[in-house]
């Protein structure tokens, strides 16, 4: 049951004082805690005045979904239920979001692919829900090991994709994600990705604001499409004739609609820039000739390698991508000025991020893009493996 009717102008239904996103992220005093990614996800959702959440268990996101359920029991989340399977969950999430509810769900690995058809539908309907993807990989034989191959499948779904390195970033991104996704000129779904286990199940120090404050509720009357009601059934336009016809008029709408979804992601740039304090984060030596372009925990391991390279007298820097969609092309080009070799360490066998970097920078910079090193999931990316790859490039034939 919606709890909107229990709200006042200053407080939400659970009695939390309503504050701006800037206050929650940047101004409210914070205290130190020691939490896993799943636990911090609960803390973030607790402060977001969330109307609805639908879940289905799959490792490693099950705990986060379970903890969001506890928030429902505690009176913080308006509606919470378990779907029939991931396809059902993502369809039900769509219904909640189209009806004007601030909605969140979580999934991992094969669950992502089982629900795949829904993601393009989410963005095509301009529904601004948040999916927290605790990445796990999708390979067979079945695995629950850390990997992030499923992110590749989401790249062209028309959703925003942000990637958190650690527990702190997951907390802050989860709050910012609702805010950016719900901007009227953006208003497409958002995926906040973390590496499963390494973040979801790892306890880290995290700074949190008090839990007596929360975001203002989502206002569906600012949506770029009319929200559904008794006269505007779900997917009203999905049944309209242009999708069923093949002529020049339907072509024009079809084409324009798709560019509009992608334009919406482009419009998210200044908002993401503000709330994430930059689409990329750079550490290390400014004048480095070696760089690592990474996202998630691969950037953490790259920082370890960067410190080791410093001891060897080799200048390097780590360019962490906080957003994959929108892709921070200009920021990356700027950061790669003067860099001879850019390595793209990844937790998957296909190297989707290296492919992204190569295709976006093709013909625009002289830096050699080295796709690797990679581990095919199942283990952390050893800093030694990164060092070996670098030394073979800068000191050929002599290894590390």
């Amino acid at each position: 049951m919606s709890k909107r009717s229990d709200m006042t102008n200053t407080h939400n239904w659970s009695g939390q004082k309503l504050v701006s996103t800037d206050h929650l992220l940047f101004e409210a005093p914070r205290t130190k805690h020691f939490m896993t990614g799943s636990e911090v996800m609960k803390e973030a959702i607790k402060r977001c005045t969330v109307d609805a959440s639908v879940s289905y268990p799959i490792t490693p996101q099950s705990e986060a979904a379970h903890l969001i359920g506890e928030l429902w029991a505690e009176g913080y989340v308006g509606v919470y239920f378990r779907g029939e399977n991931e396809f059902g969950v993502m369809s039900e999430v769509a219904g909640c979001s189209m009806a004007g509810a601030r909605t969140v769900t979580t999934t991992s690995g094969p669950g992502t692919l089982r629900a795949m058809e829904n993601f393009a539908m989410w963005s095509g309907t301009r529904a601004p829900m948040q999916l927290c993807l605790m990445a796990r990989g999708i390979n067979s034989p079945l695995t629950i090991q850390p990997d992030n191959l499923e992110v590749q499948y989401l790249l062209e779904t028309g959703m925003q994709i942000w990637y958190a390195e650690n527990v702190q970033e997951l907390f802050d991104m989860t709050i910012a994600a609702f805010t950016v996704a719900e901007k009227p000129d953006v208003h497409v779904p958002i995926v906040t990705v973390v590496d499963g286990f390494f973040v979801s199940h790892t306890r880290e120090a995290v700074m949190l604001p008090d839990d007596d404050i929360a975001l203002h509720p989502y206002d569906p009357y600012k949506a770029p499409l009319p929200p559904i009601d008794s006269e505007m059934p779900p997917g009203r336009f999905l049944r309209d004739p242009f999708v069923m016809k093949s002529n020049y008029i339907s072509y024009a709408t079809h084409a324009s609609w798709q560019w509009e979804i992608r334009s919406a992601i482009e419009r998210s740039r200044p908002y993401a820039e503000h709330y994430l304090k930059g689409l990329v984060h750079i550490t290390g030596d400014e004048d480095a000739e070696v760089a690592f372009v990474a996202c998630g925990t691969a950037s953490n391991q790259s920082k370890e390698a960067q410190r080791e390279l410093t001891k060897l007298g080799i200048k390097s820097k780590v360019i962490k991508l906080r957003t994959i969609r929108p892709f921070p092309e200009q920021e990356l080009l700027e950061a790669l000025k003067g860099v001879k070799h850019a390595f793209v360490p990844e937790f998957n066998v296909v190297g989707w991020l290296a492919n992204e970097v190569r295709s976006k920078l093709y013909g625009k910079c002289d830096t050699e893009i080295v796709g690797g090193p990679r581990v095919g999931g199942g283990m952390s990316l050893p800093a030694e493996a990164i060092l070996k790859e670098v030394m073979e490039k800068v000191n050929p034939g002599k290894g590390a």
């Binding site: 301009r126 901007k183 009227p184 000129d185 208003h187 600012k222 949506a223 770029p224 499409l225 009319p226 336009f237 309209d240 004739p241 242009f242 016809k245 008029i249 339907s250 072509y251 024009a252 709408t253 084409a255 324009s256 609609w257 560019w259 509009e260 992608r262 334009s263 482009e266 419009r267 740039r269 200044p270």
Partner: protein
């Protein structure tokens, strides 16, 4: 958006792919330039007063009396049409019209070019259209016609229009009407 005029078969490049996005709060867009709102209002009035068959396309958010603001805006839009010597062709809803739209009496976001071609419209204001449908329509219009498009938006604005002003509420429309009267007087039309 700089590339005014027919792009033939594709509404691409969309303005965002040329680095043009919605204007920041308090500002407006004229083609690809971020300008002060008042400057944009003057240019919009000039375009509407000097182009052939200038037309206002009011959308569902100002056609139906779903709020006091909507009712007030509807009255002001009628006044705007008089000041700008403009016709009005409504966008009643967003369903594509088959087998054929009556282009003399309505416009539709899925094939807005048909109404613009049929009525030889050279300048138009979109107002009260939900943002997604305005954007879908504006891309098609920009690709297929030489109409100067203007978006007066209650929210964030529309970069695919040739001129856009944002956060336009009833008091802003009153301000625009005042400016349009001044421009009309200056032009002597």
């Amino acid at each position: 958006m700089a590339n005014q005029g027919p792009a033939y078969y594709s509404p691409y490049p969309a303005a965002t792919y040329e680095g043009v996005i919605t204007p920041p709060e308090g500002k407006a867009l004229l083609l690809e330039d971020v300008v002060d709102e008042e400057q944009a209002m003057r240019e919009i009035a000039k375009q509407m007063l000097t182009n052939e068959n200038a037309t206002i396309f009011p959308g569902p958010q100002v056609l139906y009396a779903w709020s006091d603001e909507a009712k007030r805006k509807a009255q002001l839009i009628k006044e705007m049409a008089e000041v700008l010597n403009a016709k009005m062709i409504p966008m009643y809803d967003y369903r594509p019209k088959y087998p054929k739209i009556d282009a003399e009496i309505e416009i539709n976001p899925n094939h807005p070019n048909l109404t613009i071609w049929h009525n030889n419209i050279k300048a138009a204001i979109f107002i009260g259209v939900h943002c997604h449908y305005a954007n879908v329509a504006l891309k098609i219009v920009r690709a297929e016609t030489d109409c100067y498009t203007i978006a007066m938006c209650a929210l964030s604005g529309h970069e695919d229009a040739m001129a856009t002003i944002r956060d336009q509420h009833a008091s802003d429309l009153e301000k625009f009407i005042k400016i349009a009267k001044e421009v009309k007087s200056e032009l002597g039309v």
